[in-house]
């Protein structure tokens, strides 16, 4: 890519490159009815019409019309339609990175069924080619390129952390074990902020007698390139994990409590890079459910009952975009048969926490993020739940920050943690 071209030109080139029939046919299907706005948590929370998903995609649509449609080319040549400018890119950068979590709820209400989430991801792709990614997010991407982790989980830090978790919780954590059946990849949020997740997952897998390992090479699964919308960075980061899977000869890669990383590795990576043949990509909620169903671990029924209502937060990338909708509910119906209740809406129709898609990493996005979380908090209150369980660490960060911001005393739990403390064999070895 030439350094001489303007940011706008680089964005347009990317839009053109990315535009196949898949995108074009959906842009052509849009009737500009605006119903998608009603699904967007950022629009609902703020009432700002700029946050309507249809408007977020407007940049891509303009680029498409100016390049590919007869009417658009004539109108642009005549000067009736304005050309896209660098200022436009700046404005849309605020919309698609700071007021969108790419949660794709809008696709569910669109009368035409347009996949607005993936289209907004393409707007991000163009903006990232133009160098218009918000500074905070770009700093994290650069850190992940250079150090291997947006949160500074270098080789040394990783090994130190794993050692410490292993000691602190007194649990075996196999590292770089060749021939293991399953490679487990944590997100940097878990490694740095929720280390108990590592202990919990290790305890569960050990109790099940699973053959598993961590890898120093593919040591974390978080993918800031996917947040950014840059295909090269996304590929670079998924390849670190996939190369580790190849070297260790595993049959499965299990992504732990991280949503965006799961979407990147499970659904996007196969379209970007060569996948190691025969390796299945799965998520920890699916594995937990499978271990319980196969009788490899036993949970104390009702272990989470008696402490008030328990509800489950559906993460956009694990449930709506990932398909693991029933597995966490199967588990919670064992753990909290009396006190489990649903928020409204739930499952694939649930609203996003407001922190996904990289939004939580961008300081300027804080007002949007808190506004959106307010909606979620209302739903928790309406469900009369004192505890919210989720299977995404990014959501969990947002929930912890959000309840503090609003002064709520709702308890925030990770699903793996709840399962671990309810293991029938887990009476020993867990100090907390």
């Amino acid at each position: 890519m030439s350094a001489k071209t303007t940011p706008t030109q680089r964005a347009l080139d990317t839009f053109v490159e990315e535009t196949g029939g898949w995108i074009a046919s959906q842009l052509e299907a849009c009737t500009r009815c605006g119903i998608c706005a009603a699904a967007c948590h950022f629009y609902q929370a703020t009432g700002n019409p700029d946050f309507a998903p249809v408007w977020k995609v407007e940049l891509l649509r303009r680029a498409y019309e100016q390049r590919f449609t007869v009417a658009g080319r004539i109108l642009t040549a005549l000067g009736i339609r304005k050309r896209i400018t660098d200022e436009d890119l700046g404005a849309w950068s605020k919309l698609v990175y700071e007021a969108c979590t790419v949660c794709n709820k809008c696709a569910m209400v669109c009368p035409m069924g347009i996949q607005l989430g993936p289209l907004i991801h393409d707007v991000r792709a163009g903006l990232s080619a133009a160098g218009m990614v918000p500074e905070d997010l770009m700093a994290a991407v650069t850190k992940q390129v250079e150090e291997g982790s947006p949160l500074g989980v270098t080789d040394d830090v990783f090994e130190e952390r794993i050692d410490w978790v292993s000691d602190e919780w007194d649990v075996d954590i196999p590292l770089d074990r060749e021939g293991a059946e399953m490679l487990v990849v944590f997100s940097s949020i878990e490694i740095m902020k929720f280390p108990e997740n590592i202990a919990d997952v290790a305890m569960i897998l050990n109790a099940a007698g699973a053959s598993w390992t961590l890898s120093t090479k593919g040591r974390e699964v978080v993918n800031f390139g996917f947040y950014e919308g840059d295909a090269e960075h996304t590929a670079l980061f998924v390849n670190r994990v996939l190369d580790a899977a190849r070297e260790l000869g595993v049959e499965r890669v299990m992504v732990t409590e991280c949503g965006h990383a799961y979407d990147a590795l499970r659904w996007t990576a196969p379209n970007l890079v060569a996948m190691p043949p025969g390796v299945e990509i799965t998520h920890v909620v699916a594995v937990l459910d499978e271990l319980v169903r196969d009788g490899r671990i036993r949970l104390r029924a009702g272990a989470a009952d008696g402490g008030g209502g328990v509800t489950f937060h559906d993460a956009c990338k694990i449930q709506r975009r990932g398909g693991h909708i029933e597995e966490p509910r199967n588990l919670l119906k064992i753990l909290a048969p009396e006190s489990f209740r649903e928020m409204t809406p739930n499952r694939e129709a649930a609203i996003c926490c407001g922190g996904g898609g990289g939004v939580i990493a961008i300081k300027e996005a804080d007002p949007n993020r808190y506004a959106a979380f307010g909606l979620k908090l209302d739903q928790i209150r309406q469900a009369e739940a004192g505890t919210v369980v989720m299977a995404c660490s990014n959501c969990r960060l947002q929930f912890l920050d959000g309840v503090q911001h609003f002064g709520s005393d709702v308890k925030i739990r990770g699903l793996s943690g709840m399962v671990a403390e309810s293991l029938e064999t887990a009476d020993e070895g867990r100090p907390s």
Binding site: C30, T69, A71, P270
Partner: protein, 225 residues
């Protein structure tokens, strides 16, 4: 040129040219999109794509238009749902099940079909006109819709509204001589047919692309569309 001759022109040669532009233009629009190439999803599916597509259409055609309050979107978009729904229903009935229009189809296709009694078609035609007025007002009052409204959307409205209006006046023999109204109706229909390939009206064709994509995306992820 007398009105009589003008009518002969707008329902004869001009109508034929307009039809040609409509069919060729629409074919080009679709061809252009398909020719951009199709991306292949290489990730192994978790659920049934076909099942997702079937559900997507069942919901899109069978549920959406009739149960507008699904998924909490009705409250902020009551006009869009109600007027939009009435507009589409009325339009299909008038164009396909109005006797005069069926006869045009018969002359083009060589076969006809049973139609609805005029009072019903007429009532729906009036409904379309009222709905369009409501949708136009909504375009300027609802903040999100106002934001995405430009000259192209207004032009669309005008090109669709004029044939509706002239057709209605003609059926009721209002204000002008019959052949004047008939001429104006045909003229505006010709204009609409020529306009369609340059507008966003072909969404009726691309609907089948986007709903299929929707169903397949959700289906392969084992999520109900």
């Amino acid at each position: 040129m007398s009105w009589h001759e003008f009518l002969r022109f707008v329902r004869g040669p001009l109508f034929e040219v307009a039809l040609l532009v409509f069919v060729a233009g629409l074919a080009y629009r679709i061809f252009r999109v398909v020719a951009l190439g199709w991306r292949h999803e290489r990730a192994p599916a978790m659920g049934s794509r076909a099942g997702g597509v079937v559900t997507s259409y069942a919901k899109g055609i069978g549920i959406w238009p009739f149960v507008p309050w699904v998924r909490d979107t009705f409250r902020g978009n009551a006009v869009t749902f109600l007027a939009g729904g009435l507009f589409h229903l009325g339009l299909f009935v008038v164009i396909l099940l109005g006797t005069a229009h069926m006869l045009v189809w018969k002359s083009l296709l060589g076969f006809g079909w049973p139609t609805l009694p005029l009072p019903i078609v007429d009532f729906l035609a009036a409904g379309v006109i009222v709905a369009m007025a409501a949708l136009l007002i909504n375009r300027f009052t609802q903040p999100v819709v106002r934001k995405i409204t430009g000259p192209a959307e207004i032009a669309n409205w005008v090109f669709v509204f004029l044939p509706m209006l002239t057709g209605y006046l003609m059926t009721h023999h209002l204000f002008f001589r019959y052949e004047v109204l008939y001429s104006l109706h045909m003229l505006t229909v010709d204009a609409l047919l020529i306009w369609i390939p340059f507008s966003l009206i072909p969404h009726f064709a691309f609907y089948f692309f986007s709903r299929t994509i929707h169903g397949s995306q959700f289906g392969r992820r084992a999520v109900t569309p």
